[in-house]
């Protein structure tokens, strides 16, 4: 930690601060600069107390305290310099092959799901998405088919050979959801629901962790740390848009998160442009940007009849639009040297 003193502090006051720093387990190292005196407090920040409280204890003497170490370990590039890959059935995410996960926002019926599954498979998707448990802003909106939806996903998996991803909403459903799915999705609203993250991690299934609406990248990496620290190395980070002042789109898709997460971490990065845009007409363009910027996979909402979807119809692609998108993406996938 770096402690910055206010100017003109009496030496006696300085000594009191230095004493407290030592008491909290650090070795202080004083540097007298031109405009400020600065203290380097040497010690492992992850195992010692946070010195930021010094600003409260010595408000007249301490101007600011700055941590030096990164707080995440297992998800960091330092811990694992090569890219890590996540195996999902016969597929490898984070490797040379680019993957597309596609399917409806909510599982609504056997017909809706199977029609979609067959169409997205034919278009080149390898993983089927579909919500059985839906977190809805209002208690009066459709909350998902629950276990019945999971069973339909399982059926679609058996009939098409697609792998399956679905969202987990409750610690109590972790076992049940893990039985039917190949990847467990943690949604943006639950991205810092650490109990849920731990329960999901403990199933051993790959976890796709969406970024919360107002999550700094550091906080997102730390939430991922909860997965790896619970002995599950199969983690995918998924950017789906952050909340900003702009109202034209539902959220602002932060595509810079791709190179940043790849710089800080070894885990694969997935982009969900459907949630980010909230508008089907922008989804295709955002997919191209995501591919070009190095994403490992896409998560796209597709529905046989978006206007009659039970949730989020405005952002779901039709089967035809999805097939066209998959064709249009090819030159971009080639341009980044992937398959």
């Amino acid at each position: 930690m770096i402690i910055v003193f206010k100017p003109g502090i009496p030496r006696k006051k300085e000594s009191a601060v230095l004493k407290e720093i030592r008491k909290l387990g650090y070795t202080p190292h004083v540097m007298r600069g031109v405009a400020r005196t600065v203290v380097g407090a040497i010690g492992d920040e992850l195992t010692h107390a946070n010195l930021e409280t010094l600003t409260a204890q010595f408000p007249d003497a301490v101007e600011s305290v700055m941590p030096i170490q990164k707080r995440f370990k297992l998800v960091s590039r330092e811990a694992h310099p090569a890219n890590s890959t996540v195996r999902v059935r016969e597929h490898v995410l984070g490797g040379k092959r680019f993957h597309v996960m596609a399917g409806p926002c909510s599982v609504e019926s056997e017909k809706q799901l199977l029609t979609t599954a067959k169409a997205v498979k034919a278009a080149g998707a390898t993983i089927l998405r579909g919500g059985a448990f839906k977190p809805r802003t209002s208690p009066y909106e459709f909350q998902g088919l629950g276990e019945k939806g999971l069973k339909l996903l399982d059926k679609a998996r058996r009939e098409t050979g697609l792998a399956v991803i679905t969202e987990l909403l409750s610690e109590n459903h972790a076992g049940m959801v893990a039985e039917y799915t190949d990847i467990i999705q943690i949604g943006a609203r639950n991205s810092q629901n650490f109990q849920l993250l731990i329960a999901a991690a403990k199933t051993g299934k790959p976890i796709l962790l969406k970024r919360g609406l107002s999550m700094k990248i550091e906080e997102w990496l730390l939430a991922g740390e909860y997965v790896l620290a619970n002995e599950n190395p199969n983690l995918l980070f998924c950017e789906r848009g952050i909340r900003t002042f702009e109202t034209y789109t539902r959220n602002t898709l932060d595509l810079a998160a791709i190179p940043i997460v790849k710089h800080e971490s070894h885990c694969p990065v997935v982009i969900d442009p459907s949630q980010g845009a909230g508008r089907a007409d922008l989804v295709a363009t955002m997919c191209k940007g995501a591919v070009a910027m190095g994403a490992d996979a896409l998560l796209v909402e597709v529905h046989p009849n978006p206007v009659e979807a039970w949730s989020d119809g405005a952002q779901q692609l039709s089967l035809e639009a999805f097939a066209k998108l998959m064709k249009d993406l090819k030159p971009f996938i080639a341009a980044v040297g992937r398959e």
Copy 2:
């Protein structure tokens, strides 16, 4: 819902849109304006499909769709024009008397908790706060004493007569936490963890619902709707700061939320300036603003020795600072006509 057509749409296209509106259960009402043709779709928006999908189905014809109705019902002023009050043991929140909830961020030890409890009671607080289960950004930070912490809160309650508020983190702990506490707190990170909200509501205990870091007020009211819709009328809204670009404070305390929530809803409003500021030196000033703007209660972090706190030391008041604050607030409480 209001549907705005793009200019120059052929009548045949219009008819197709109007047909779809009827199919989804609304009666369309066409108004031909100077620059745009607009359709009023008459029907109950809470029980019919959301017409926003029309922009996706008819991208060439439909420019935008605007909902008219508010999506929250039970928490709204319309449902309950008078202020509602929440009874907590012998106290009434939302009434004439102004309340202060105070105590440490985390329960650390019997001595720490009892010392604080006695001091805040002596200074005028009526409710003791203290975290037994702590949601922490990093898995390597102190996660709370758990049930042992709850027992200490219960002990402090018996020894001082203060009521108790503590945070619930897991659906599976709802019963246990309800046994020891008078108010269940739902934290900002879990403000849209609807499973947790339902589990908390079903205990019948009063719920203090913190606003999420990036929650619009409408979403916050809708999250509160989950509590009332689960037959628990005892809801308190608690503003604790939203996430903005400003980095001087940890979050930006949105004090305008007080008059807004009071305008839209009948539920009491609590302000937590400690989380909002992240700095003890700003807490007292923010408390004065909160009182002046009509808050019903404050939630303040107090610690006998902030610099050695196991969490969030920089924002906790010392016992002396809290006693001074309680004295300083008096003229402001009088100025708003409260006790």
Copy 3:
């Protein structure tokens, strides 16, 4: 405009509102819905009073007022359905050919500028950027060489044949800057400095209008409207990052602005990834995303020795890094069907 009444308003009150609507020049059209009564006020919103004041005048009766018309006209796709192009010397921006504008953040010396100009030209850039007047957050930072810088840009232009873009900071310099530059840049901090926009527009030179840090896209289009309304049709919109809570990058580059502005407007779109990232190592990746998402041009900061740059060194590419970037962009430019 759409006026939404509160529920249960007496007819007499309704009549008073309708009378006021008529007085302000609109024809009211009443629709009685299930939960709300709504009024369509028919009339041209651009030439009549804004009815939003009705919420203030009739707080008990009027719940909300929603405008229907878009407020921008000349920059809109409706006004000009085809893409517009901007001619800069022998180049056409917004056409089939993709353009790159490159050069130093600040013009520092003849040697620095000419070295850069030759290098970026050799790498394929067609337009030279360079700041002669620099808006600096602090009065103690380098403010640019002023007219001397403009003369150096002119010299570089003559020696290399590159076109030139530079920023205008003061109305009083509009004539002088127009003499030396081919495109006038309006920076993010001045994006709603309407006096400056008007002065720039009146020079007749093409205008590159950066998006303000907290500008909604609608406001940006309206600022562009100031240019076209002052009889200058040569407008380029330039996205350079918006301000969000994320601190890893200096700003959040909103690449979705590309398809959105192209949907709403006919004007070309330029992306400035250097300002958006604030970090050279992210610039190349962001450029790829921008190309893939349909930008018409890039604006990239390049410096022969970034570490000794007089401003914004951390985000400037070296000459070698820029040459590599230009090569790496080729497959992406081909993938969007451009040259």
Copy 4:
């Protein structure tokens, strides 16, 4: 500056960085910590190069660079530990007396202005506000009466004895505006229009500097530094709301800016709740909060007939509402120990 090395850097690489630090005029001071090696670069940051470019020059070796010094000087508390006051005619802002500036958003006519001026004076205001030059988001909105408006303000000043504040939009009008006004207002959109700030400062008139919509407090203080560095010590900071994701209010009034600016700077702080709220019904409550939190003055929009105002009608108070507000504020002004 503090330079943090990446872990495991070879000594040779370290030496190269240290050499560069020395070359840029700092004395490096190496501290070998547990997880990171950190360098304190000793030297005056305000007069030496910014070392942040080291991350770009040595991307493999340098993880981050953190400045230590504050960048503002003349506006800081360190430069002037006591509160500074600003004299406006016979009034002293920033002293014991609390001041209210009130008047219409735009000057529309002699009758409108004089009616308002007399009413706000009778209610206790000491300064008359009114816009003669109006910055409008759209070029099709009313842009102000210009010099005619200034003359009306001057007339109102002579008839009522109120001091006058009005906004300056163009460098070229600085002299003209200064002739008619007692305080020059710099609006939020021009808060980093440094040419305008300098021109305003040079008139010698007191400057009220509004905070930009997305301005960090540090940037606001630095913009204020432009005023003091141009030898005008009469500076008032005015908070009027920042841009956030919340849409219920037009902007989010950041009342915490009051104690923060008072902590960092000696200049008086004014609150403009009208722009912050965008809704008259919230203005009164926000005023109470502003008083309680230590503001030195309020800037309130008042109009004899808000619904017919030519700009921003929804947020202007009627004369009656203003008179009531002034009465309601009294106990809060007394509670903070002011007059």
